[in-house]
Symmetry: C2
Subunit: 233 residues, 2 copies
DNA sequence: CCGGTGTACTTGACTGACAAGAACACTTGT
DNA sequence: ACAAGTGTTCTTGTCAGTCAAGTACACCGG
């Protein structure tokens, strides 16, 4: 039996496929994602579809009220600011530690090489190696808790990217170049320089995002949902 | 109908009660927590018990392999170091921001007053207001993502405390005094001083924990579980 | 035009059942 | 006697069908 690594159950497989669709922007934020539709689409029983949906809800990739269908959350400018701000905080910590050690993970180099090889491709294609670059830096700290927290942030970043799909945020070449400089600064032990560059790097992406998301000024309806869902843990 | 706030479903209610038991150390780390036992204990169907267990697994409060019963994870010294290290990183960011604003949340004062009113009570009774103190500081940033990440950490801290139950880690009076000084430093805008005090504050608690946990050198069986469960998100 | 009622849709939860995987004890062969 | 393979049992994974409960929306009446 050929078995895809990491997928142990049907629920996991469905959750993974839904996640993939979410990140590619193939799921509309308008129409609700009902248990029945998922159940039908993957030809599984409703409890199985329910479990997959609840998994994504617990990851923050879907929102749902009681007795209400799950929906793809509509991220607004405030969300983008919060996500990127928290990202910057976490990654700053990481960069300082890595700069003190003067080491960068090989995976970061590989991921950035992929970005360079991509040329000026679609904006969504850059997201995958880009997030792998940043994630590999966090993982280099070998802190399961920090990696877990960052993983949650990374998911929301991808959700953001999916929702502004089509609007090329930044040039592939610029991203690659800044990553390269970032690695050089870390290897040189220049913590302040690395953090400073990172904050410019993220702030620019954030401002682009806020500009696009703010353009469609959806009211802060999603805010209360986020807060209520926060009390669960 | 009288309805407990926040509890919307049976699954939530059971998950909350299991969490309470976990934090009070009433669940043994040895015997597995099977779906059947939970189902029987709360007189609900097995799918309901299953959902509650999976909720706690997704929060990291229980661990489970495929086709294996859920277990209370045995935290070792490495876990305690990771949890407290990540805590220190996150809270340092928060303190710097709060110091810049020179404001502290009222909830922090209230929580610390409770600690003082506690006298030299049981170590476990201090945990609740203590975590409320620290959590209120993070929540003051009004960042849903940061609060969510910290909430996960706080849960694991409580799990730690439950597992070293009986070993009074620190004096109630000392905790209260340091919290009070922390608030004063933040209000005075002394970011470096506040961070420095916080790190001593957490490092002391951490070392006590590591001492107790390292004393019973349980093998690193829980490590691989933690890592594998990390890839899910 | 506004307010209340009723209906359809969706989820929450249960019962009962079978399949599949894992751990453990047991048996068998050397 | 010991090692390896086998089988049983426990637990979870998944399914089907069903009823209850809640929400949203449309419809009707004042």
């Amino acid at each position: 039996m050929a078995r895809v690594e990491g997928v142990t159950s049907i629920v996991d497989a469905i959750a993974m496929d839904l996640r993939r669709q979410l990140f590619r922007g193939e799921l509309s934020t308008d129409e609700p994602l009902t248990e029945a539709s998922v159940s039908e689409q993957y030809e599984v029983a409703r409890p199985t579809a329910k479990a997959a949906i609840e998994k994504l809800v617990s990851e923050g990739l879907l929102v749902r009220g009681v007795h209400r269908s799950a929906r793809v959350p509509v991220l607004d400018a405030a969300d983008a600011r919060d996500i990127y701000g928290t990202r910057a905080d976490v990654e700053s910590i990481v960069l300082r530690r890595l700069a003190a050690r003067r080491t960068v993970p090989d995976e970061a180099r590989r991921a950035n090489a992929e970005i360079a090889a991509l040329g000026e491709a679609s904006a969504l294609d850059v997201v995958d190696p880009d997030m792998r670059f940043h994630t590999s830096l966090v993982d280099a700290m070998a802190s399961p808790r920090l990696s877990r927290a960052y993983s949650s942030l990374a998911s929301e970043v991808r959700l953001c990217m999916a929702q502004v799909q089509g609007n090329s945020l930044l040039s592939t070449a610029l991203i690659h170049a800044e990553h390269e400089r970032l690695l050089a600064l870390v290897e040189g032990g220049d913590a302040d320089g690395a953090v400073s560059l990172l904050e410019r790097h993220l702030a620019r992406a954030r401002e682009r995002l806020v500009g696009v998301l703010g353009g469609t000024p959806g009211p802060e309806a999603a805010w209360s949902d986020d807060v209520s869902q926060l009390g669960g843990a």
